[in-house]
Symmetry: C2
Subunit: 241 residues, 2 copies
C-alpha cells in the first residue's frame, strides 16, 4: 500500500517529528511505499493569494475560487499544489501530523487545505462528500496537545477534541476520504517533553510511540468515522428526518 | 469607544471588504475610534517559525512557546505581534472579518492566533478564560460563506456554524474576551456576488450590509455567548457535576 504523511511542525526533533519517523519506518518495514511532505522544511506558503497564479484570468479582482478553476483548466495550477495532489492521488492512506495550536491546526496546515484542493479540480458542486475526488482512500489526523489528557472532553478546560477536529475531519470527508478516528498524544510540550518531570515524560512518550505503531498495524481494517452524505440530505442540504 | 477590526481577505473589493468598510464608517460616524489591520495588505506572516525570533534563547531546537516566553521577557517579541497586541489592548471591541474557507478561517487568520498571543505574555497557566488578559473587552466574528443559508445547521451539508466557529470562539474566550454571537453573511461568492443571479444578489447583499449596521448599533449592549470558566471545572479541568 502507499502511505503519504504531511507533517506540520517547525522543529524536526519535536515529538511530531518522532511520530512521523516512527510511522515512516513502521510502514516501510511492513513493505509499503511511504512519501512525506514536511510543510515547514519545504517552506510551504499557506496563504492563498493572487501571486500564486502566474496567468490570472481576472487581473483586476482576485477571486480565489475563480482563479483556482481557471488555473486547473489551463494546467497552471501552482507546482507545489499539483505535487501535493499527486502525492494524495497515489496514496491509500494519508496521515496529517500536527500539534494542536489554538484549538486547531497550525496555520501552515490550515493553508494546506486552503491551497491544495482547488475548486473545479478536486471538487465540484456534485463531486463532494461520499462522491468526493479521493473516494476509497483513508485519512487520519495524528495530533499532539500540550495539556494532560484529563483536561480534555466535552465541557472540559482544554475543549473537546471531537469538536476541535471536526472542521478538518469534515473537510477530509468533503474531499471523499474515509476519515479514521484521530490519534491523540496529550501532554507534549517543548522538545517532546511534558509538564511532568523529564524522565517520566520520556518514558510516557516512548510508550506513546509504541501505541502509535500498534494503532498503525490495524489501520487498514479499522472502522472509519461516520459523516452524513448525499443520501442523508434534502435538495437544500438539510438532514432528511 | 475604541473598535479594532482585523480583516483576512485577499481582495479589498470583496464583500468582506464591504463589511469592513461599513463597520468602519458606522463606528466613526457614531463617534468611536476605529483601527484596522488588513492581514493581506500588511503581508502578515501567519507561520510561527524560528526566523521571527532574532535572538533565540535556544538556537539548536525551536520550541515555539519557549521562544515566545523568552522574547516577551526580553522585549524582543516580533514587531508585528507587538503592534497587534497594542491594537487589541486599546480596543473595547474587536471584530474579526473573514470568509469561511474549508470549514474554518483562512490560514492568514489562523496564524494570527498562532503568533499574536505569546505564551507568558498574554496568557499564563492561571491568566486564561474568565481570568484572561483581555478581560472586559468584547470580540465578534463576522463571517461570509459561499453556500446559501439553508445549507447550514446541525447535520446539514454545509456544517453547523456553531461547531465550525467553536475553535476561534473558544480561543477568544481563553484570552479573556467576552465573545459575542457571530454575524454570518451566507451565499457570498466571487466579487461579493452569489449563486443567485447578479441583480438579486446585489440587492440581497446590500440588505445584508444594512443588517450588519443594525447589528453593530446594538453591539455594546447585546448578551455575550456563555462558555465554561474556572468556577466550572475541578482541578483536572473536568466539568464539576
Amino acid at each position: 500500500m502507499n502511505v503519504h504523511i504531511t507533517l506540520a511542525h517547525p522543529e524536526p526533533t519535536s515529538f511530531n517529528g518522532s511520530l512521523t519517523y516512527r510511522a515512516e519506518t513502521y510502514f516501510k518495514r511492513a513493505g509499503n511505499n511511504v512519501t512525506k511532505t514536511d510543510l515547514y522544511a519545504s517552506d510551504f506558503d499557506p496563504v492563498e493569494r493572487g501571486a500564486h497564479y502566474k496567468d490570472r484570468s481576472n487581473k483586476d479582482v482576485f477571486i480565489p475560487l475563480g482563479e483556482q478553476r481557471a488555473a486547473w483548466k489551463n494546467g497552471t495550477t501552482p507546482e507545489d499544489v499539483r505535487s501535493e495532489i499527486d502525492n494524495l492521488r497515489n496514496a491509500d492512506l494519508v496521515i496529517l501530523q500536527f500539534p494542536l495550536w489554538w484549538h486547531g491546526p497550525p496555520a501552515i496546515l490550515k493553508g494546506w487545505f486552503d491551497r491544495t484542493f482547488p475548486s473545479g479540480g478536486v471538487y465540484t458542486s456534485r463531486m463532494r462528500y461520499d462522491e468526493g475526488y479521493f473516494k476509497g482512500k483513508r485519512a487520519m489526523l495524528s495530533v499532539t496537545t500540550g495539556a494532560p489528557e484529563e483536561a480534555f472532553g466535552p465541557g472540559a478546560r482544554g475543549g473537546d477534541p471531537a469538536t476541535m477536529l471536526w472542521p478538518l475531519h469534515y473537510s477530509l470527508h468533503y474531499l471523499g476520504f474515509e476519515v479514521l478516528h484521530p490519534f491523540l498524544a496529550h501532554g507534549v510540550q517543548g522538545h517532546g517533553y511534558s509538564y511532568e518531570d523529564h524522565g517520566k515524560a520520556e518514558c510516557r512518550l516512548a510508550q506513546k510511540l509504541d501505541s502509535w505503531e500498534d494503532r498503525l498495524a490495524g489501520v487498514w481494517n479499522e472502522a472509519a468515522q461516520s459523516f452524513p452524505g448525499w443520501p442523508d440530505w434534502d435538495h437544500r442540504g438539510q438532514p432528511l428526518s
